[in-house]
């Protein structure tokens, strides 16, 4: 009766995706099937490439959010942080372009990364040292970042310098062996993130802090440091997303990134990460981001939904995707 005496060993999460974590992928498969039935063009290579490439932004940000959320936090500021970082980056590049030419691009990228990390640090510090509910803290910084970009652009738009535009374009529109660069970037980010979350001390502690703060603290983990670090990772991911994003739209406006936070959190949760912390799923998050983008795509490709009802149908599909995800776990 040894079989009853010990609980069955669970599949280790990590590189290999266990059955219990297949939910988001099943939901994705269901969606793709439905999409195909509605409009066969849905599966055209071109369309798939477009959609997946687009999902890269939300995907990369959501990978960062996977850390924040699995450590028991929440970051509502990501959308306006993205706008802010984009704005700073474009201003720096435009300022440097006349003197250094296209070298302004790597400079801008570096500045973006530093800005992102600083923003993340700010969020993390307010949450951990100020001991303020992350929801409120990041709602506050959401207003702050949004206001800063509005201020920087005088309520208007900052566009990237024409001289840089063509040099920078490939970052979004280019490809390597046919695979669009944003997809490669987000795969790289996901790989690194999965390694950090599943294969390093930090990742372990991040999840532990989210699972039970007391246990983590009593085990000698500096909860504040781990949490802050998660926000910093989030900031860095937002910066990377912004770097890929700039060539697509070529400008930062006060409405850039509006409501992304909701999409990001949705992607994370659909991906199987627990919103109350203690469980993070990097690949699930990636699938979640793709799902969201596919839903939007499907709305455009299908013709029988009144334009007024698009939001409703999207809402219903998200709930159904979540149901599929939940069901596969039981």
């Amino acid at each position: 009766m040894a079989d009853l005496a010990a609980a069955p060993p669970r599949a280790q999460h990590g590189w290999s995706i266990g059955w219990g974590d297949a939910g988001p992928f099943l939901a994705l498969a269901a969606l793709v099937l439905i999409g195909f039935l509605i409009n066969p063009d849905f599966l055209s290579a071109n369309n798939i490439a477009n959609v997946v490439t687009r999902s890269a932004f939300i995907g990369i940000i959501a990978i960062g959010a996977t850390f924040v959320i699995s450590s028991g936090g929440l970051d509502l500021s990501v959308g306006s942080m993205a706008a802010f970082i984009t704005g700073v980056m474009i201003l720096v590049m435009n300022w440097a372009a006349p003197s250094v030419g296209t070298a302004a691009i790597p400079l801008g990228m570096a500045v973006a990364l530093v800005t992102g990390i600083a923003c993340g640090l700010l969020n993390g510090t307010i949450v951990t040292i100020g001991r303020i509910e992350p929801f409120i803290a990041t709602l506050g910084t959401m207003g702050i970042f949004r206001a800063l970009i509005t201020y920087m652009t005088d309520g208007g738009t900052v566009a990237i310098d024409r001289s840089l535009r063509d040099a920078y374009r490939p970052v979004y529109f280019g490809d390597v062996l046919g695979v669009p660069i944003p997809i490669l970037v987000s795969l790289a980010v996901a790989l690194v993130a999965a390694y950090v979350l599943y294969r390093t001390r930090y990742g372990r502690r991040c999840v532990a802090v989210g699972a039970n703060e007391d246990v983590a603290r009593y085990s000698g983990i500096s909860v504040a440091r781990v949490r802050t670090m998660a926000f910093v990772i989030q900031g860095a991911c937002v910066a990377i997303a912004a770097i890929c994003y700039v060539p697509r739209l070529g400008a930062a406006t006060p409405t850039t990134g509006l409501l992304w936070e909701l999409q990001v959190i949705t992607a994370v949760v659909i991906g199987g990460t627990a919103l109350r912390g203690g469980r993070g799923r990097v690949w699930g998050t990636v699938a979640g981001a793709v799902i969201l983008e596919f839903i939007a795509n499907l709305m455009v490709l299908s013709d029988f939904v009144s334009e007024y009802l698009v939001a409703a149908v999207q809402g219903v599909i998200i709930i159904i995707a979540m149901l599929i995800q939940r069901m596969s776990k039981r």
């Binding site: 406006t253 334009e307 939001a311």
Partner: protein
């Protein structure tokens, strides 16, 4: 003949004016689809600039677009994507907000945001004898908002009209109501109010009515909302004029684009809709009782 596809990409109905755009676009699509069996008009709305970029990408990835009628969320962000569509051989009609590169468009139908601000300002300067205290409500930080404010500021230049305060109310009547209440609490003497959109004007009027203050002589808006036009027609003392910025411009654009295919002559060029002052005399021309806007 082969069926031609005209795609219409517009912002989602997130406030009164854009709602009007959606209404008119849908109406045009229905009428044209019925009248011209060779044309198919499909309307897609997008809640943000990036969603709009996605939407036109999706449309062009999955079918051949003979024409694209687009009311861009923002000029900067949509220039490159629309250019890509153009390069695939589509006829491009741009509505309202111009793209950064005017060479992209085959047809341009637009209102004049600067004139909306400027004409309103001129009216106030004239009626108030060149002096008085103003408060201004602006919308969501975008180009349209910026242009209207700029036009207005140019319009009062040289007069003694003074802008006491200017704040965002996000083209939202609720927020405008609150903002106006606060303006009223802050400034004991306000001679005129300008809300750069009629949605906001509704809130402003309600707040003024509640306060019972008599110092405000004019409360003006802009866009040509049905309710406001009705006020003008009725000879309202506080809102005697209005500037049009009709959402129906999308309908005009769709029809012109359809004419390019259905008619016998090519249609090209640009059509700038004026923003003349609507007064009691000509208000009836701008009144569409069936439109939701």
């Amino acid at each position: 003949a082969e069926k031609k596809t005209i795609a219409v990409s517009i912002p989602a109905a997130d406030h009164g004016w854009t709602a009007g755009v959606v209404y008119h676009a849908n109406a045009a699509a229905k009428e044209i689809n019925k009248a011209f069996p060779d044309l198919e008009v499909i309307v897609k709305t997008s809640p943000s600039a990036s969603a709009q970029v996605s939407a036109i990408e999706d449309l062009s990835a999955t079918r051949k677009l003979d024409a694209l009628v687009i009311l861009p969320h923002s000029s900067e962000e949509l220039t490159t994507p629309v250019k890509t569509i153009k390069e695939k051989g589509s006829f491009i009609t741009v509505v309202d907000r111009g793209l950064n590169d005017p060479n992209i468009q085959d047809l341009y139908v637009a209102g004049d945001n600067i004139a909306v601000g400027f004409n309103t300002a001129k009216f106030l300067v004239e009626k108030m004898g060149g002096k008085g205290n103003l408060v201004v409500l602006r919308g969501i930080p975008t180009v349209i908002d910026d242009e209207r404010i700029k036009g207005f500021q140019d319009g009062i230049k040289g007069s003694d009209l003074k802008i006491l305060d200017i704040q965002y109310a996000n083209w939202n009547s609720d927020e405008a109501f609150k903002l106006m209440q606060d303006y009223l609490a802050k400034y004991p003497q306000i001679d005129a109010v300008w809300a750069n959109d009629d949605d906001m004007l509704l809130g402003v009027l309600e707040a003024i009515k509640q306060s019972g203050r008599k110092d405000i002589k004019f409360a003006l808006g802009g866009n040509g909302m049905k309710e406001i036009i009705e006020k003008v027609m009725a000879g309202d003392a506080m809102t005697p004029v209005e500037t049009p910025y009709p959402p129906s411009m999308i309908k005009t654009a769709i029809y012109l684009t359809a004419a390019h295919f259905a008619g016998h002559a090519p249609v090209r060029g640009s059509l700038k809709l004026d923003a003349p002052l609507i007064t009691k005399a000509n208000a009836a021309e701008y009144h569409f009782p069936d439109s939701p806007f």
